[in-house]
């Protein structure tokens, strides 16, 4: 078997060197065409009629008037009379028309009578949830009561982190065009190789009839794996419109209402321990919702799973609201926020530096040595020793500065992936893979791996992805992409090169096994005088190209990729205690992703994760109205997201280290997006002297923590 191992760290020519993303110019110049940019001749536009009520049944529905509206080509009903609706925004009927305005007018002409039923949308008041709260059953380890009694210090707190929406910049949707029995499908998707099969199942047609193309997509964060009812109804609207292509993308309000949420989490937590910082007990009563089907249970205590005495109670609450979808590190932000807020409160209680409390207890984690190295590095980068102070000891003046820290953990092993590499007689190289670039640099990374493996440069590789005609590669979720695609690319390139060596060896009068590809040449190992250029070597192929594949098998990744990344982030904030406005000074992120292929796009991934979580820490929350049962801020106005001036400085340290490198490639998308919220929350507590229990750390929540709900405490 050929040697697929990564080249030794010090011998890499392309991998490990910062490379600009290949599609940077296309994107920044607007040349990159996203699925929502696809326009086809004769295309019609799909618009959805959604429920204005959070809980109701459909008494009657009449589409007669809509069908007669100008430009209408199809009207479909998916919630006929008798259907029970469980959240506002749920789909009822669908219209296709020659223009989007015509489709919207027709949707408004559909007559629906509703039987409105009681709803429940505000899960924070658990006592009001009644039978909608489903307890998971108590989990106990050790003797918590005894440990609480024996402790030198016990912290007790309430912590709340709300439902967020994915808010994909490009909403969910697709363009679909039938060509006879065959279908052209342009989805905004995280799953180029599998989404056609999913749609085929919904439509009960062979998957082989569906051709998927997707060069770019505008954000998914875990919410864009399936084809969804939006894909199926788009296809049916097209059929009903006599085969006209249909463009159906959710509008902004619908996107923020039904296209996925991150579950909330609320908890009352006690942490107990000794004066020296040793944590001895954890007790939590938590609840959460992810919509009608309830919510996921955050894995708490997070990372410090070895706390000897633990008692956990959790309840999942069903609400009449749009459902949860995977959200960039599902359950981890919530678990990280709950755990590291509670541990920081314990550290404050015993007046110890939280860094030392964390280090003291690393034995309770699965990666003590790695975390210690990362914590110390982050501590140094953040000037922790100079800037950290006891909680609230921030001096006079109305601007208070504080630091906070939190850790993360993630898997990130490579998914199943196949890659084909073609070497053509003219010397050109094509790389084909049914993967997708969610904007993270996948294109660039596979080109770098191929170039490294073939002794070429990145521009020598023509990367072809985003098409389900290419070899199958897994969906991009769980930070599994980079491990999968880099490993399959490596293997395909090594296999193709082996074939090329067989063709070239006679001309060089050498054993094929003694050849190597370096610097655009094929040469005899140890004897560079016996060489020929890549181009000359490829001419030896005559008229036939080499076409070889390589596969990543997650059961046997052969050391090319692995799982298990740790990370540490420190937030440095300034809080105006007169206004409650929190400003980011800096986030320091020490990130581990094993072997780093492209430091530049890896750093960008961390920037993205940190920025996303700065929004989550300071601004984002889905606001539900109890009376209406509707999302009040399903827009980009009051669903607040940070702009560039709100971000502060982000300093990334990729933990490039021989110990990490030898583990192989590990995904980074999710681990970078876990610990920022907890770190910022801790930094704010450190700055202002009290815990703000509720995320986001918006002025109302910060001022309420400082001065009371009615501003009854004195304002210094």
């Amino acid at each position: 078997m050929p040697n697929y191992s990564w080249p030794p760290m010090d011998q890499r020519k392309v991998m490990g060197k910062a490379h600009n993303r290949l599609d940077g110019f296309a994107k920044s110049s607007g040349r990159a065409k996203y699925p929502s940019d696809v326009n086809r001749e004769g295309m019609v536009y799909g618009v959805i009629l959604t429920s204005p009520h959070a809980h109701c049944t459909i008494k009657s529905i009449d589409t007669t008037a809509a069908q007669k509206m100008p430009g209408v080509t199809a009207v479909r009903v998916t919630a006929p009379a008798g259907t029970e609706i469980q959240w506002a925004g749920a789909e009822i009927a669908w219209v296709a028309a020659d223009t989007e305005p015509h489709a919207r007018d027709a949707v408004r002409a559909i007559q629906v009578a509703y039987n409105v039923l009681p709803h429940f949308v505000s899960e924070e008041k658990k006592s009001k949830a009644g039978t909608r709260a489903k307890p998971a059953g108590e989990q106990t380890t050790g003797d918590v009561d005894e440990a609480l009694k024996a402790a030198d210090g016990v912290s007790e707190g309430y912590y709340a982190i709300p439902v967020l929406t994915h808010s994909c910049l490009e909403p969910h949707g697709q363009v679909i065009e039938w060509k006879g029995d065959k279908m052209e499908y342009w989805p905004s998707s995280q799953a180029v190789s599998t989404v056609a099969g999913d749609l085929a199942q919904q439509l009960k047609i062979p998957a082989s009839q569906i051709h998927v193309s997707m060069d770019y997509m505008g954000g998914g964060f875990g919410s864009k794996f399936p084809s969804d009812i939006w894909g199926a109804e788009c296809a049916r609207l097209s059929k009903d419109s006599g085969g006209k292509p249909v463009k159906l993308f959710l509008d902004r309000a619908t996107e923020l209402t039904i296209a996925g949420v991150r579950p909330s989490a609320y908890a009352n937590i006690k942490v107990a321990g000794k004066k020296d910082g040793t944590i001895t007990a954890w007790q939590s009563e938590s609840w959460a919702t992810g919509g009608f089907t309830g919510g996921g249970m955050p894995p708490i205590p997070y990372i410090f799973t070895g706390i000897p005495n633990r008692r956990l109670n959790h309840a999942a609450i069903s609400t009449n609201a749009g459902g949860a979808r995977a959200w960039r590190a599902p359950n981890h932000q919530q678990a990280c926020f709950l755990t590291f807020s509670a541990i920081e409160d314990f550290a404050a209680k015993i007046k110890m530096d939280p860094v030392e409390v964390l280090v003291k207890n690393l034995g309770l984690t699965a990666r003590a040595a790695l975390y210690e190295r990362q914590i110390r590095k982050a501590q140094e980068m953040a000037d922790w020793k100079k800037l950290w102070h006891q909680r609230g000891d921030s001096g006079s003046g109305n601007i208070k500065r504080g630091l906070g820290i939190a850790l993360s953990t993630w898997g990130g092993a490579g998914h199943p992936s196949e890659c084909r590499i073609k070497i053509n007689p003219d010397g050109s190289v094509e790389l084909e893979q049914g993967t997708q670039d969610l904007g993270v640099g996948t294109r660039t990374v596979v080109a770098m791996v191929a170039a490294e493996s073939l002794g070429l440069t990145v521009p020598d590789i023509k990367v072809k992805i985003g098409d389900n005609a290419y070899p199958v590669s897994g969906p991009s979720g769980g930070s599994t992409t980079v491990g999968g695609v880099s490993s399959s690319t490596r293997k395909a390139a090594v296999n193709a090169l082996e074939q090329l060596f067989l063709k070239v060896a006679p001309a060089l009068n050498a054993d094929p096994a003694k050849l190597e590809a370096v610097g655009g040449k094929i040469q005899v190992k140890g004897d560079p005088s016996k060489s020929m250029t890549w181009k000359a070597a490829c001419q030896k192929l005559g008229v036939s190209s080499i076409s070889e594949t390589g596969k990543n098998d997650p059961k046997n990744p052969m050391g090319l990729n692995t799982q298990g990344a740790g990370g540490v982030q420190i937030a440095d904030v300034s809080v105006d205690v007169e206004t409650g406005v929190v400003k980011m000074n800096r986030v320091v992120a020490v990130a581990d992703c094993g072997l780093v292929i492209n430091p530049k796009t890896a750093e960008s991934q961390v920037y993205g994760g940190v920025i996303m979580n700065i929004c989550g820490a300071l601004m984002e929350e889905r606001v539900m109205d109890e009376t209406l049962g509707r999302v009040l801020n399903a827009d980009m106005e009051f669903y607040k997201l940070a702009g560039i001036k709100d971000i502060g400085e982000i300093v990334v340290h990729m933990d490039v280290h021989p110990d990490n490198d030898k583990r192989g490639v590990i995904g980074l998308g999710e681990p970078s997006a876990i610990s920022t919220i907890a770190a910022i929350s801790n930094a704010v507590a450190n700055a202002i002297g009290v815990r703000v229990p509720r995320v986001p750390l918006s002025p109302d929540h910060v001022l309420t923590a400082l001065y009371g709900k009615n501003m009854e405490r004195s304002r210094a």
């Binding site: 206004t579 409650g580 109205d625 009376t627 209406l628 009040l632 607040k640 109302d700 501003m711």
Partner: protein, 324 residues
């Protein structure tokens, strides 16, 4: 959005001739940054739009005696970069620079700012300016953290105008023109707290166009805005102050709060607290304290009392050039 007729007026006469007797007949279009989204959401569906962006005289800023005349179609960007404004009326420039989107500053106009509809989420979902359902206020029992702490009757929304408080504080007059004539109203009287869901929150009539803003020479003035984000965001509370000074002593003060009530809120108590005093951190804070006396917060917005108080303090210090 419903279909509508489009009139591209090039003179005020043409524009007023195209207006109707009700808001559903015709609405004036300038920058469109608010109106178009209202129409797309079917909150407003006028039969006709009258574009006034091509009426040249409405797009200029000029000296008027010792004061200033600002055309209603002047953009935020024009206003903020005009030397006369920056020099004599920094309060206005500061107010519009709070609109932290260059796109909106390039499109949004002075008249549009004054005539824009409330951002109240219940209003935007079609429950009227009072935010009513089944005869009850959705605001009072609902999500009201961005709503008024100085409500007026049933009106709990906050006036969205950035320029309103500054213009009220400086005693500006607004010129309203109809086909049959014109009138001038005080900026303070232009804003109205409606008591029915159908009423408008400004004194403009459906057959009128706001054509210009007239300002007398101003004393020291400033606007301070408390906003969570540096990126595009609505203020949580603002204060505009206008001081007539004798040396370092305040002879008279006009203090007007924004985003705390359905109209710019005239803080008379704060004004009384300042007269005869020098502006210091202490007197400014005392004025802030006086400004919020009588606030009636809702279930979620008591924090805005603190923000209003601080906005007054900081606007006063800014206007007086005092470093806190």
């Amino acid at each position: 959005m419903n279909n509508f007729e489009y009139i591209n007026a090039t003179t005020v006469q043409e524009a007023t001739a195209a207006l109707g007797s009700s808001w559903s007949d015709a609405v004036v279009l300038a920058g469109g940054t608010d109106l178009l989204s209202l129409m797309k959401d079917y909150v407003m569906s006028p039969k006709r739009l009258v574009n006034i962006k091509n009426i040249k005289e409405l797009g200029t800023i000029s000296k008027a005696g010792t004061g200033l005349r600002i055309g209603a179609a002047v953009t935020f960007d024009q206003l903020a970069s005009n030397p006369l404004v920056r020099q004599g009326y920094p309060s206005l420039a500061q107010a519009v620079m709070g609109v932290t989107s260059p796109q909106i500053r390039n499109m949004g106009t002075v008249g549009g700012d004054l005539c824009q509809r409330p951002r109240c989420w219940y209003y935007r979902l079609g429950h009227g300016v009072l935010g009513m359902k089944d005869g009850k206020s959705l605001v009072a029992e609902g999500e009201n953290k961005y709503h008024a702490i100085f409500p007026s009757g049933a009106a709990h929304f906050v006036s969205a105008s950035s320029l309103g408080p500054a213009l009220v504080a400086m005693g500006a007059k607004l010129k309203l023109v109809s086909a049959s004539g014109s009138r001038e109203v005080d900026a303070a009287k232009f804003f109205i707290a409606p008591q029915s869901n159908e009423a408008r929150e400004i004194a403009l009539l459906p057959n009128e166009i706001l054509t210009e803003v007239l300002l007398a020479a101003a004393g020291k003035n400033a606007t301070y805005e408390v906003r969570q984000k540096d990126a595009l965001d609505w203020p949580l509370a603002t204060a505009s102050v206008h001081l007539k000074m004798k040396g370092t002593i305040v002879e008279s003060a006009n203090i007007v709060l924004g985003h705390v009530g359905p109209t710019p809120y005239h803080a008379a108590g704060a004004e009384r607290a300042l007269v005869g005093k020098t502006i210091t951190a202490e007197t400014a804070m005392a004025a802030g304290e006086a400004a919020v006396a009588g606030a009636k917060p809702l279930s979620q917005n008591a924090y805005k009392i603190q923000l209003a108080r601080v906005a007054v303090k900081r606007a006063l210090l800014e206007a007086a050039g005092v470093k806190a």
